[in-house]
Amino acid sequence: MNRMTDIETLTSADPVLRLSGITKTFPGVTALSGVELALYPGQVTALVGENGAGKSTLVKILTGIYVPNEGQILVDEQPTRFTTATDASDAGITAIHQETVLFDELSVAENIYLGHAPRGRFGLVDWAKMRADATEILDRIGAKIDPRTPLRELGIASKHLVAIARALSVDARVVVMDEPTAALSQAEIEELYELVERLKSEGKAILFISHKFDEIFRIADRYTVFRDGEMVDAGLIAEVTEDQLVEKMVGRSMDAIFPQRDHTPGDTVLSVDGYSHPTEFEDISFDLRQGEILGFYGLVGAGRSEFMQALFGVTKPSGGSVTIDGQEISIRSPAEAIEKGIVYVPEDRGKQGAITAMPIFQNVTLPSLAQTSNRGFVRMAEEFALARKYTERLDLRAASLDQNVGNLSGGNQQKVVIAKWLATKPKVIILDEPTKGIDVGSKAAVHEFMAELAAEGLSVIMVSSEIPEILGMSDRVIVMRDGLIAARFDGEGLTPEALVRAAAGYEESAA
């Protein structure tokens, strides 16, 4: 429908909000480097990019949660500075996040107006006005919800509408929508599109972040592409094709150097057949051979980590079987998985990886205490020897093995977790986003090490959302989408474009 909009009217508008030369660095990582972005009244700008391209960081800068290290934020071409979330909302910027932050025990109206409730006499909350205003906003977005309903009684889609109503309850000029359709059904998505059209006609500038190409081409007027924290391209949707957009998104120079691997995988070690879960994934089947690296690619929320957690016994599958070395096994707990030779290095190191208040050596030996014990008593000398053996192999930098893991850098904490698992002498190691959030140098070391492990005959399952890593490291790739296996690649036809298409569910155009 935006095809009807005249290209000239699109290009003649002045931006409401413009970011210029924005750079944001975190210790060891540059999340955004010199990016540009302009948002125009009455227009939808789609922001596209892979996971880790810097989209979320940008949203946080727009909403005042992060302060950029360099660059300018211009509202109506006037330089401003957002140091708190309130600054951004005062400037008329509001965001609807992927995971909405709402309060189940409060009513819909209270959720919409929490923090800026209309005040009456003596500064007390004016409940009648709050309800009336809430009804008006809900009507405006076409939501048939009674503002007095407690939020917990609503479904996910309705909650989403409440979040949108909340965003609109402040007089917003700029609306940021971060993957707003991720949790919605098709009918609800249609309603959201209508809402976006209505916001456009009210003259709001909309930043629309999405992985889904069909919706980008349906509702966006402009696009901006991010890649590795840089702005790659921006322009009018009418002047670009889907294939071109995919290319801009992934078309990087493959400058990261991956280790050369010339090892031929051996016999099948692990077979998974028809693994299913009531809500997270279904019918996952694959074989894994000795010394092989099997990549799992997909968008965030495709069910990859959930499947790995089930394979590791953290959650219970509803069906399917696992065979290891030709013997069918059942895995009901992580302890059983470890015993059978399957180990898992989780994605969230802080929460699931290391026990930070414990010394390095105790972290490493935690699952292998039987190895270092005699008649039930741990022998510290053996413990130290075991910990030293594996931490030295991983080239861990620490003053002493007595040191608490909490005092180590992220990359070194990751090494402690990997050392812990290698000490159990596993057959299969699952690495979930092994290089997420670590610097380039440490990434190369992790890749090097992964190749070494495979060469020694360990089978590796690598979950990764980074295309170069998937392409550079994997012998074979499985792509998951919405809890199902969407595609398998055995080396042939494995291109960045093919991966993105399979993961996003966008089939190549008939051309």
Binding site: T25, F26, P27, G28, F312, V314, S333, P334, A335, A337, I338, Y344, P346, K351, Q352, G353, A354, I355, T356, A357, M358, P359, Q362, L366, P367, L369, A370, S373, G376, F377, V378, M380, D402, G406, N407, S409, K420
Partner: protein, 327 residues
């Protein structure tokens, strides 16, 4: 590792304890005499043992408020059996006390593990339940000294190498904890579960089961202490050790056992209990009114917690400085 631990919180606490003894000695000569200090230790023995049990529970990010009720109920049961059947050997009574304590601990543990009820709610409930059962079984009656057999009363006071058996039992429990906590897989699991429950799951540790064992061990110790308490004071009634559960928690907190779990040592718990025990022993002899004693004990707890919170805070700042240096 042991050296590192001593340099930190435990060393400071030990220093504070010595300073406290010196100050009291300056006001009341003879307090620091070996014989008197041995007496203070003996008086504090039960607090030490319960604090060690509580330490395991707190390490796993739980808390057991029912320990004193458990103690009072087992104490009452052994006293009633003893007065009704003086022929039952005291060793059997001790076994009954421990078994009963283990059972009550297991009940707490099961509720926390299988029903996933917050430990503070579970043990607040059992605190009242166990205390209520005392009244039910005794009908509110007391068991007095003359109703107890001589053997029943004699064991904790019996001296070996001029130390009462009560003190020796505490020493044995401390030794068992020192080895068990540092050198067994279960001991490690307590730290892992409290330090990072989610990571513990991914390491193959059953978090609920580990917590269950912490409650069981703490309950068993409370049962043992039930006999020791009633036998030492030679009286059993419904309100025995009323409010003592808070002293136990206080001893742990003073000893640097982090309420957030995963942080703390056996040495710390023992020193914390000794510090609190010394204050309780010393304040009356230097002539401070009982009301001030409560206030001073309370102040000691808050100072200890503030101190621990500050040392944790300091750690955070060091990490930030490192991050700044890297960037």
């Amino acid at each position: 590792m042991i050296g590192q631990a001593l340099k930190s919180r435990e060393a400071i606490l030990a220093g504070a304890l010595i300073l406290l003894i010196i100050v009291v000695e300056s006001r009341f000569s003879g307090f620091a005499a070996p014989g008197n200090l041995a007496g203070v230790f003996n008086d504090t023995s039960i607090l030490i043992m319960l604090a060690l049990g509580q330490t395991l529970v707190i390490l796993t990010r739980c808390i057991d408020l029912s320990l004193a009720s458990n103690l009072a109920l087992t104490g009452m049961v052994t006293a009633m059996i003893n007065s009704a059947m003086p022929g039952v050997p005291v060793v059997a009574l001790i076994a009954i006390a421990v078994a009963l304590g283990l059972l009550m601990g297991a009940f707490n543990g099961i509720l926390v593990w299988k029903l996933d009820i917050p430990p503070i709610v579970v043990t607040l409930g059992t605190l009242t339940i166990y205390r209520g059962i005392i009244f039910v079984v005794s009908g509110g009656a007391w068991v007095n000294s003359h109703e107890m057999s001589e053997a029943y009363k004699a064991i904790p006071r019996f001296e070996i190498l001029s130390l009462p058996v009560l003190s020796w039992i505490a020493i044995a429990v401390i030794a068992a904890f020192a080895v068990g906590v540092n050198r067994t897989a279960l001991g490690r699991a307590f730290y892992a579960v409290g330090g990072n429950p989610s990571a513990a799951v991914y390491t193959g540790i059953n978090v609920g089961k580990t917590r269950f064992w912490a409650f069981v061990i703490a309950g068993g110790l409370a049962g043992l202490c039930g006999y020791l308490w009633v036998s030492r004071y030679a009286v059993a009634y419904t309100d025995v050790a009323g409010g003592f559960e808070l002293d136990v928690v206080a001893a742990c907190v003073i000893g640097g056992i982090s309420i957030a779990g995963g942080l703390g040592t056996v040495t710390g718990a023992v020193l914390g209990a000794l510090f609190l025990g010394t204050i309780k022993n010393a304040l009356p002899v230097v002539g401070i009114s009982p009301f001030w004693q409560l206030a001073i004990s309370g102040a000691a707890i808050i100072i200890a917690v503030a101190f621990n919170a500050r040392s944790e805070h300091g750690k955070g700042r060091i990490i930030l400085k490192k991050a700044e240096a890297h960037s």
